[in-house]
Amino acid sequence: MSDAAQARQPSAKPASSKPASSNRSAALRRPSVPLAVVGAAVLLAFPFYLDSFWLQTGLFAISAAIGAIGLNLLTGATGQLSMGHAFFLAVGAYGYVFLAADSDTKLTGLGLPTPVAFAGAVVMAGIAGGLFSPIAGRLRGTYLGIASLALIFIGQHVLFNAESVTGGFNGRNVPPLELPGIVFDDSPELVVFNVPLGALERLWFLGLVLLALAAWLARGVLRGRPGRALNTIRDHEVAASVMGVPVARYRAGVFVLSSMYAGTAGALLALIFRRTVPEYFGMFLSLDYLAMIVIGGLGTAAGAVIGAIFVSLLPQLLTRYSDGLPLVAAPGSGGVSPAEASRILYGAAVVAVVLFLPGGLLGLWTRLRMVVTARRAPRTLPRLEKEEQPA
């Protein structure tokens, strides 16, 4: 949440204090509850109407949103730059494959039950983050960004060369997730309301649940005691430490947490792709994630989600409609490919946001909402608690 919005929505207010202010926040909150219900209904209805192209695009966005929430905890809320996010996505993706797949002649795998493998992949990413946390706890801001760049190169090297685990250049097939009662694959067939629900449709629901959980957890962290400590480390490190915040421990902790978010996103991504390929987890992916949180809005879960949707949908939209767009050529035909065009576009978007929209797209939304509220109820800004001031 933006700070202004956070200030208006205090979590636990005793009834005695500030009637005027809670009226105001109630007025702001009222439309958001039905809005959320409608939004959830629309999202749940998507698999029944969208074709597989859009579903896959949407699933990428969901996975990216989970990863971006993690990066926003680290970079947005704590001010710790990380270029290594793609590495932890790779740990999650390959971790799931390694834990879930059975061994064969060329590739090794543990063949664990897939839900255990999924949880294990998240834990593995967390452990990988924990191994890096002595560095992550000590380095500040951009210095961590430079140090974490090393993770990308190490990761790429391992992915290409540890062939018995990763499958090398060609990658590895991903076993579908099997929860009790439901397999996230095209067979066995599942038909609801006369619509066949294949792997993508089923994963869509899983993705939504995971995203909702990820955002809910992140919001709780950010609005609670750890979030205040992290924000103060970002705003004024010395002040945080003299107020009793163990700075290195919190930096290390949030790095592990953000790695676990990346691991979740990576494992989900593997399930969507159904094949893991090493070159996907390169530096460009890390840059994409940074672009997401800057465009969406730094420091909040909502900002990360908005940015992830924007950055994930843009290349797909350009690919789909490249015929009709000037200057964008079909992939492989020479000219500016849709992927390149979208990078240029969201590069421009990053610049535009930094210059004109501090707070990102979420900040724009918050500002619009404040304007609307102010117009609707112009007399709701009284001086509060006059009677409680000391004489």
Binding site: Q6, S11, D235, Q389, P390
Partner: protein, 280 residues
């Protein structure tokens, strides 16, 4: 027991001696001021006491612990709170959230319990928010609780910072120039809050301040630093009459009426330059 004892404190930065064997003591419940011209080492002293800088030599004891060996958050855990000369608040956060940071050492919720909103974490949050509102009222900033700090006037921000320090429920409060840059009205309010905090909360206060009127009014004892050395220590009255102090502030050529450190000719800057030349 919780007396602050600074003993032979020395801090050197690559050849520059910022503090040179400084001694003083702050008995429990008293207000002690550290004064001195610019660059005398007052802020360095504060930074050592709060663990931000490492001491080269000497010791600082408080509440049975050796502060020079501790990191800042461990010193905070002993009940040592401080404010900063330049405001160090999170300007985009609300006043309430800034004050809640002061409760950090008194609360326990971690990533898991805050993320999962466990009942324990929620109860803790509500309880401490209640106390933070009381403190805001005490300091006179409760009408701004919901406002982002960055939007408030300078004088209010200074008081918010004091409130954040008080929110730590400290037994020792370090105030680094609490009224610097304030107008007369703001100064008066700040002084009232400090007096009330001492009287009602029974804490010891160590004060760095340039405003002599304020120091003379609030402090029980005064330590005067100049070029990192302690040049005087005593009650405000004694210190004001001390020739070494008058020299440090006004230069050697001047005599001053007792009780009033008025600039009669040369400026303090000239005095400082003169001293520097003497040393060279």
């Amino acid at each position: 027991m919780s007396e602050l004892i600074v003993d032979g404190l020395t801090v050197r930065f690559a050849g520059l001696t910022a503090l040179d064997a400084v001694d003083f003591a702050v008995p429990e419940g008293s207000v002690h001021a550290v004064i001195g011209p610019n660059g005398a080492g007052k802020s360095t002293c504060f930074n050592v006491l709060s663990g931000v800088y490492r001491a080269t030599e000497g010791s600082v004891r408080f509440a049975g612990a050796e502060l020079t060996a501790l990191s800042p958050h461990k010193i905070a855990a002993l009940g040592v709170a401080r404010t900063f000369q330049n405001i160090a608040l999170s300007s985009r956060q609300s006043v309430e959230n800034n004050l809640m940071l002061g409760r950090h050492r008194l609360t326990r919720a971690g990533f898991a319990s805050a993320g999962l909103r466990l009942p324990r974490a929620r109860r803790e949050d509500a309880r401490h928010r209640g106390r933070v509102r009381e403190i805001a009222r005490f300091v006179g900033v409760s009408e701004y609780l919901d406002a982002p700090v960055g939007m408030l006037p300078y004088g209010v921000q200074k008081r918010v910072e004091l409130a954040r320090a008080l929110a730590m429920e400290p037994s020792l409060l370090l105030l680094d120039e609490p009224v610097a840059g304030m107008n007369g009205d703001e100064r008066r309010r700040m002084a009232e809050v400090i007096v009330a905090a001492r009287a009602d909360l029974g804490l010891s206060i160590l004060l760095v301040e340039h405003d002599m009127g304020m120091v003379m009014k609030l402090a029980d004892r005064v330590t005067v630093l100049d070029f990192g050395r302690r040049i005087a220590d005593g009650t405000p009255d004694e210190v004001q009459r001390d020739p070494a102090v008058i020299r440090a502030y006004l230069g050697a050529a001047h005599t001053v009426d007792a009780g009033e450190l008025a600039v009669t000719g040369e400026t303090a800057a000239d005095a400082a330059r003169q001293k520097a030349e003497e040393r060279a």
